[in-house]
Amino acid sequence: MFRTIFSHVGQYKKQALLTPLTMIGEVAMEVLIPTVMALIIDNGIKKGRIGYVAGMGLLMVGMAIVSLSFGALAGRLSAVAAMGFAKNLRSDLFHKVQDFSFANVDKFSTASLTTRLTTDVTNIQNAFMMFIRSACRAPIMLIFALVMAIRMNSRLSVIFLCAVPALALVMGFIMTKAHPMFKAMLALYDKMNSGVQENLIGIRTVKAFVREEYENKKFTENTEAVRQAQVRAEKLVITTMPVMQFIMYTCIISILWFGGHMAVKGQMETGELSTFITYVGQILMSLMMISFLFMMFIVSRASMQRIYEVLTEKPTVTDPASPSDDVRDGSVVFDNVSFSYFDDMNNLALDHIDLTIESGETIGIIGGTGSSKTTLVQLIPRLYDATEGTVKVGGKDVREYSLEALRNNVAMVLQKNVLFSGTIKDNLKWGNQDATDEEITEACKAACAHEFIERFPNGYDTDLGQGGVNVSGGQKQRLCIARALLKKPKIIILDDSTSAVDTATDSSIRKAFREKLADTTTFIIAQRISSVKDADRIIVMDNGKISAVGTHDELLETSHIYREVYDSQQKGADE
């Protein structure tokens, strides 16, 4: 997993590797400076050698400048590396998602994909920057400072032999204990926030049922649980600070005690004693840092795992090795087709479908919720692949075409459709980037959208806002139809695409289709009988099977389901 993720550092590898290297420079200077300090005191000040003090002082200034340069360089390099890494990761994820089939997207859900591309990437980016800056720095600091301390006075260094393992042990204990507690806290925290979200969305329901008090009580229970979990987790973590202080202070006192005795005996200089104390700080601080890094690594692991899942997901629908680009005509054949969303032949959404549709036919599809109407037509542009059997378009298996050629010839207006931010024209051009204004107007006229677009003050240049919020449901559906028409497809599929359009407009759209798109094979999925009544043939779906096929009049005779639907909509109209 780590290899996959960190391979995205890519062209920023140089910076990522140089950061710890420059850090070494900074750390070396930082560790050397206290030693120079001891020299200034012991050899210079105490012996009254002003020249020596000045010389060493200047050396120290020089070292500080070197250290500063290294430090600043590391800061710059790490920023470049981490942000570049995040950029690559984000970009590769986005491109990957573009390759996803519908099945892949269903598996993750769009909300979860969005979180992975935003929050998770940011988490990793921050952890990565911290990591390359400190993961080397802290251990090197620890080692350098230890070496310097031992060189200065090996007997006194024995104290570290006790202090370092003691602190490491305590920190390790606290961190391992705290981790599950934090996880528990975050889970409760999420629960609390999703409760808030539910209340925001359902505020009318809450108010209509006068459940404010009930919701308040629920929320108060949640916040109390969060508070308790927080207290439990933090109680442990905040002990690190006094423990660290305690150990550090104990070290200082012991060093002063033993060091003081040595100094009096002339075995150690007082300047060295003071430097030794500086090393105590450096050593213990880097130890703390290491444990923090460890913690952060664990926290960001969850994000890495989630990103890794996306990166390694295999797109289920891909281009064949030598794709065909030529879709001959709009004929469609289902040859013994079965389909399951779970790839499970015992849980079929489509059950052994056989169907032959001539090019240019208009096919209506009717059936209750969950009867797999949508599933059936989704196999035609290969939004999903059949689990068994073959779907043929223009006489060839859909899996033989390149996806682009197939989908450009099979236009589908989705049930849950989306417009994007931008103008109406921008959105329509999704159908055909090079469409002329005449072509656009023509498509809009056929979809009965031209009229209302013209009524907008800015006409085709009206800005839709994110998700097309500035148009009504029925207008949105008509724009989506126009967008699909601009592809000039051989097959067009309308999946309940006129549900929010009134019956009169609905029928004039169908009329336009009949007149202008006579050669185009048309599939119309609808709830209303009136939308499919005039189709050449109507397919009645029931529970993943074709229950009946025929014209309106035939079906009224032969299909009891069709009759029931017809009756439920017709009752009273003829009175």
Partner: protein, 630 residues
């Protein structure tokens, strides 16, 4: 936990003092805690300084011994003992103040959260019209998070840093006023550097935030529309546009983080520079014997210079996070200060015993019959009116915004048990009428009467309890199916829930769910189809058993065949109740007692189905599909 970096751009609160006072008001009962926290922080900070302060006599003691050959061991042990005492006390007070502060901060945060949520629940619908979910949600996430950071860490660290700076400064001044001049100069330099880099980094972060917003917005939009992207083979264009935004983000982020990253090494090494300069000048002074400078003073002093720069950097960082947190707190308080939904109704809903002759007496038990308890202020008497569900609208004008009226003189009359339907295009005012009946929005006195009582006199909660509403968008809550149906009547027995589910024809699909009625629904019931959700909503309304029922496009997502199946259930649900129906599908409303055709906030036609068809007006056109309904 890993140290959190203050990443975002700094925001400034409008009135800092007020915000602080307001937060402090949530710490009631913790006054003593807080005082101890401050004392603890001060002691802990002083312990660090005192340790350094005692270094001088200790070194001087050793130097003296070396010079004279006579070691004052008693003095040495005494100083060390004092040091140990101070340190121990310091570590202990760190431990104590952190524990206390954690209690204070977690409880304070909980209180603010509860207050915010309770207030939110009491706000009128109008408030939710004006604010997006994202906006309100960020109060609970971003703003409380920064507040937590402030309460949990920043306050204590801020005090500690401030105390350290002052303490170290005083100690330095005591040891040598001359060397302190260098300190002041360094301080000036440090502040300038922080100011310079801070300003750039803050500007950089604002740019990064803007770029991040754009990129994330694009991700959200495109991933949400991913299926459309696929259908139109738009992948390459999407990738291209994304890479452009992503590059911009990368540049802005690199710039911002570079400045943030170099601040620490610069500060750190400035302190070494300071150290070197102090060493040179202090050394010269000691050698020359100037100003009574000793080796001990120089060593102590040098340790001080090291412990001086850290808190200064911290103070500047903490100040930023405190300011951001206060700005967030102000946003929270602004919502808490919103006017709650006004409810000065005094007519209440009570269980009633109704005698044969029609006299009504109040009952403590649930009798299944309800009455309005109407106290009269003038003469102190109380009258009771049976709840029947008779509604009357008298020439109602209403607009969500004052200048845009949605209803223009609506008058209608609904007798108990009648089914009244509203028909009309979007924006004609159908839903608005139901919004007024349950007082999501208010109209002037006397315009709407419920069982003969002005509804503004009725307590809102009781008014709503007497009505059930099924909305087009069904909202389910995390919990079991059972819990969700029971939402309509919290004390409903299991049997009542089953009966309601059967009535709504929801029983069959529920029993097919993995755990039947105990199946847990999450994410607004995302695992159910829209139609199934609507059936649950109908069951929820059924279990509430109210005299008035409002169905706002309640069956729009159920296919006509299923709708026909539940028709019987719906009929028995509506039986004996006053029902208001809004439906797009006209087949749903054919059997209504009265159908109101609305246009531009006016009732243009009214009557039953047959009379309206015979009238050959708008309804006829709609019914026969000659007119657009959208």
């Amino acid at each position: 936990m890993p140290p959190k970096k203050n990443m975002g751009p700094v925001q400034k609160p409008a009135d800092m003092k007020k915000a602080i006072k307001r937060i402090a008001s949530y710490m009631y009962g913790f006054k003593l805690h807080f005082i101890f926290v401050v004392i603890g922080v001060v002691i802990s900070a002083f312990a660090g300084i005192a340790g350094n302060f005692l270094l001088k006599p200790l070194i001087d003691n050793i130097e003296q011994a070396l010079k004279t050959g006579d070691w004052n061991k008693k003095g040495f042990v005494g100083i060390l003992a004092a040091m140990a005492g101070v340190y121990l006390f310091g570590a202990l007070s760190t431990f104590v103040y952190q524990r206390l502060m954690m209690r204070v901060s977690t409880t304070t945060l909980m209180r603010i959260r509860n207050d915010l949520f309770n207030k939110m629940e009491s706000l009128p619908i109008k408030f939710f019209d004006k604010h997006t979910h994202g906006e309100l949600m960020s109060l609970y996430t971003n703003d409380t998070d920064t507040l937590r950071e402030m309460l949990g860490n920043s306050i204590a660290q801020f005090i500690s840093s401030a105390v350290t700076i002052v303490g170290v400064f005083v100690a330095m001044l005591i040891y040598s006023w001359l060397l302190t001049i260098i300190v002041v100069i360094m301080l000036f330099v440090i502040i300038r550097v922080i100011g310079f880099i801070g300003a750039r980094s803050s500007k950089g972060f604002i740019a990064q935030q803007a770029a991040l917003g754009k990129t994330n917005g694009y991700i959200e939009e495109l991933i949400d529309g991913q299926k459309v992207v696929k259908v139109f083979c738009h992948e390459d264009i999407a990738n291209e546009e994304f890479d452009r935004l992503n590059d911009e983000l990368c540049q802005a982020a690199t710039r911002a983080n570079t400045f943030a990253n170099i601040l620490m090494p610069i500060m750190n090494n400035l302190s070494y520079l300071h150290y070197a300069v102090t060493a040179i000048i202090g050394g010269i002074m000691t050698v020359k014997g100037f100003g009574g400078m000793t080796v001990g003073t120089v060593i102590s002093y040098l340790q001080f210079t090291r412990s001086f720069s850290m808190p200064i950097t911290q103070v500047s960082q903490q100040l930023n996070s405190v300011l951001t947190a206060l700005a967030g707190a102000e946003r929270i308080f602004r919502v808490i200060d919103e006017e709650p939904e006004a409810d000065d109704g005094y007519v209440t809903l009570v269980s009633a015993d109704i005698a044969e002759d029609g006299t009504i007496t109040e009952s403590d038990k649930r009798t299944g019959r309800w009455a309005w308890r109407h106290p009269h202020k003038a003469d102190g008497t109380v009258t009771y009116t049976e709840v029947k569900g008779r509604l009357e609208l008298d020439d109602v004008y209403f607009g969500y915004e004052p200048e845009k009226t949605v209803l223009n003189g609506i008058s209608l009359f609904a007798e108990p048990g009648q089914k009244i339907a509203f028909v009309g295009s979007t924006g004609a005012g159908k839903t608005t009428i139901t919004n007024l009946i349950n007082r999501f929005y208010d109209v002037p006195d006397g315009k709407i009467r419920y069982d003969g009582i002005n509804i503004n006199k009725i307590k809102k909660s009781d008014l709503r309890r007497s009505q059930s509403i099924v909305l087009q968008d069904t909202h389910l809550f995390t919990g079991t199916v059972m819990d969700n149906i029971r939402y309509g009547k919290l004390d409903a027995t299991d049997e009542e829930v089953y009966a309601a589910a059967k009535l709504a024809n929801a029983d069959s699909f529920i029993t097919h769910l993995e755990n039947g009625y105990d199946t847990v629904l999450t994410g607004d019931g995302g695992n159910l189809s829209q139609g199934q959700r609507q059936l649950l909503a109908i069951a929820r309304a059924a279990v509430a058993d109210p005299p008035v029922l409002i169905l706002d496009e309640a069956t729009s997502s159920i296919d006509t065949r299923t709708e026909a199946l539940i028709e019987k259930g719906m009929d028995s649900l509506m039986d004996g109740r006053t029902v208001f129906v809004i439906a797009h599908r006209l087949s749903t409303i054919r059997n209504s007692n009265a159908i109101m055709v609305l246009e531009h906030g006016k009732i243009i036609e009214r009557g039953d189905h047959n009379s309206l068809i015979a009238q050959k007006g708008k309804y006829y056109q709609l019914y026969t599909g000659m007119f657009e309904l959208n």
